[in-house]
């Protein structure tokens, strides 16, 4: 079973890996976006860590809900509302239980991913974060490690896609051949999850 401390460790690990990979995310965002994804995510997750250290929530659901609200308040751009919604909806779906199972986390994350698709009006294949989140959540049925691998493969699979949502969509066919930065940062969330589950 996973308790609130596990979720705090997940968010902290996510902040660390995003911090390490911020320059790469920004590089990926440069040819098809506006070269700020790494810095924006770095700023948002740093704020999440500060919040969790200052006033750690008592339940898994509360950790993710508060983390999502913090991202909405500090990231900006499209990433703020989308990642904020992902974590908030996942947290709210987990409810107030002091501990949750891996299966409960998987179905809550599935609800979070659905909410992201609704907010962004997007679906897998649009070259967005959903292309990493959707296979990642599906593979959670096997293991945290499988989810990390599947989301990473999903991010790589965005390279040949043409973007239909977000700023990259304005490039039309010129968006083909670049890995989506949002899918890449989503894969990092699963990588952090696999890391803390070890």
């Amino acid at each position: 079973m996973l308790d609130a401390a596990f979720f705090v460790r997940w968010m902290t690990a996510a902040a660390a890996v995003i911090d390490r990979e911020a320059d790469r995310l920004t590089e990926l965002d440069s040819p098809i976006g506006d070269a700020d994804h790494g810095r924006n995510m770095q700023r948002g997750f740093a704020a999440v860590v500060t919040m969790l250290e200052t006033e750690p929530p008592a339940t898994p659901g509360a950790v993710l809900t508060a983390a999502g609200r913090q991202l909405i308040s500090s990231v900006g751009g499209a990433s703020g509302p989308l990642y904020g919604t992902l974590l908030r909806r996942t947290g709210k779906t987990l409810g107030e239980a002091p501990q949750v199972s891996a299966a409960e986390l998987r179905s809550a994350l599935a609800a979070g991913v659905t909410a992201v698709g609704q907010l962004g009006g997007s679906a897998p294949g649009d070259k967005t974060m959903l292309d990493a989140l959707t296979p990642g959540v599906a593979a959670l049925a096997d293991s945290f490690d499988a989810a990390a691998v599947a989301s990473q493969e999903g991010a790589l699979a965005t390279v040949p896609m043409q973007a239909r949502k977000g700023r990259a969509s304005y490039l039309g066919e010129r968006s083909i051949g670049h890995q989506d930065p949002g899918a890449t940062s989503s894969a990092l969330l699963f990588a952090a999850l696999a890391e803390v589950a070890k």
Binding site: S30, P31, G172
Partner: protein, 330 residues
């Protein structure tokens, strides 16, 4: 790349501190990133709030003041502000007659303003929102996030601002803003990429002999790259692209807008070409504005925006305005 900054992390805050020092008629909250006209909330007046990424100055903070916006929320460079800023701005300027959010059509701006509208309404503020999407370079919205909001933002903020200043109710100000959006089209070209402080190098590589046609205002590449063209040829291309989608039976407002690094000498020369094309196509020009209003940091290039105006829109365009970036008639 040399820049007149300290560090990338404080670029926006430093600019807001400088803006506060230069403009005592504004209340500039550098920490929370909200710019408000000092006399807000203005009694019996609908309040206008806009915002978006920084790097487009004077948009939007430079358009806060009598006759235009009541408040603006600057985000990080080229990044939408967060809902907290918009909620704070709405609360600061609402006189009880409602707040109109003017939102450019970018996914980040749309999502954050949407969340802000819900939060502000929870706090008892009546909110309406108008989406600005004037960029004809984005043709097929089935395969994109929809047309970008670019130069028409200036027309919407000025005309809706004048309507609000006259005491029109929220529904009427909103309807006029929608009319301006429906009557406006833009097209942009880039002669060079721009450099964000966070990245420190150009956002895309544009060889010296080429230009990008159909760019937006975030340093993103356009839809098509061609060998460099003359001002005459660019005006033909840009105005014709607009007129494919807008058939003005009435006179138009013309905005020839610099992207930040193109001198006025070139912009005025380009405006001469724009006027020539409009004359050739039989489009009457009511007013023309030439300058840097909706910029993209240090990008070279320009955009053209046309807005078809009836008598009322023209009257509201001519109404007095007193902001850091636009000022006449007072």
């Amino acid at each position: 790349m040399k820049m007149l900054i300290n560090v990338a992390e404080t670029v926006v805050t430093d600019a807001l501190r400088g803006m506060a020092a230069a403009h005592p008629e504004l209340v500039v909250d550098a920490e929370n990133r909200v710019i408000v006209r000092r006399d807000a909330p203005v009694a019996d007046k609908v309040a206008l709030v806009s915002g978006g990424g920084s790097g487009h100055e004077p948009l939007h903070g430079g358009f806060v003041g009598p006759g235009m916006l009541d408040a603006a929320c600057p985000g990080e460079v080229f990044t939408s502000p967060v809902p907290d800023q918009m909620v704070r701005a709405a609360a600061a300027v609402d006189s009880g007659h409602g707040v109109l959010f003017l939102v450019k059509n970018y996914t980040g701006d749309v999502l954050n303003f949407q969340m802000a509208a819900e939060l502000a309404e929870d706090e008892g503020v009546q909110v309406a929102s108008v989406l600005i999407d004037d960029d004809v370079a984005v043709t097929d919205s089935t395969f994109t996030a929809g047309r970008r909001g670019t130069g028409a933002t200036l027309f919407v903020e000025k005309i809706a601002g004048a309507a609000a200043e006259e005491g029109m109710p929220l529904e009427r100000v909103e309807a006029l803003a929608r009319q301006v959006v429906a009557s406006s089209r833009s097209f942009g070209v880039a002669l060079s990429a721009c450099t964000t402080p966070a990245k420190g190098s150009p956002t895309f590589d544009l060889p010296s002999g080429e230009l990008e046609l159909g760019v937006g205002i975030h340093g993103e590449p356009g839809r098509e790259r061609r060998a460099m063209m003359t001002s005459h040829e660019i005006a033909d291309f840009a105005v014709d692209a607009i007129l494919e989608d807008l058939d003005p039976r009435l006179p138009v407002l013309v905005l020839v807008n610099g992207m930040g690094a193109t001198p006025l000498l070139e912009l005025y020369g380009f405006n001469a070409e724009v006027r020539r094309v409009l004359d050739e196509r039989g489009v009457a020009v009511a007013r023309t504005l030439v300058g840097n209003y909706v910029t993209s940091l240090d990008m070279a290039g320009c955009s053209v925006t046309l807005c078809q105006v009836d008598g009322e829109l023209l009257r509201l365009w001519d109404a007095p305005v007193e902001t850091a970036g636009l000022r006449w008639g007072r």
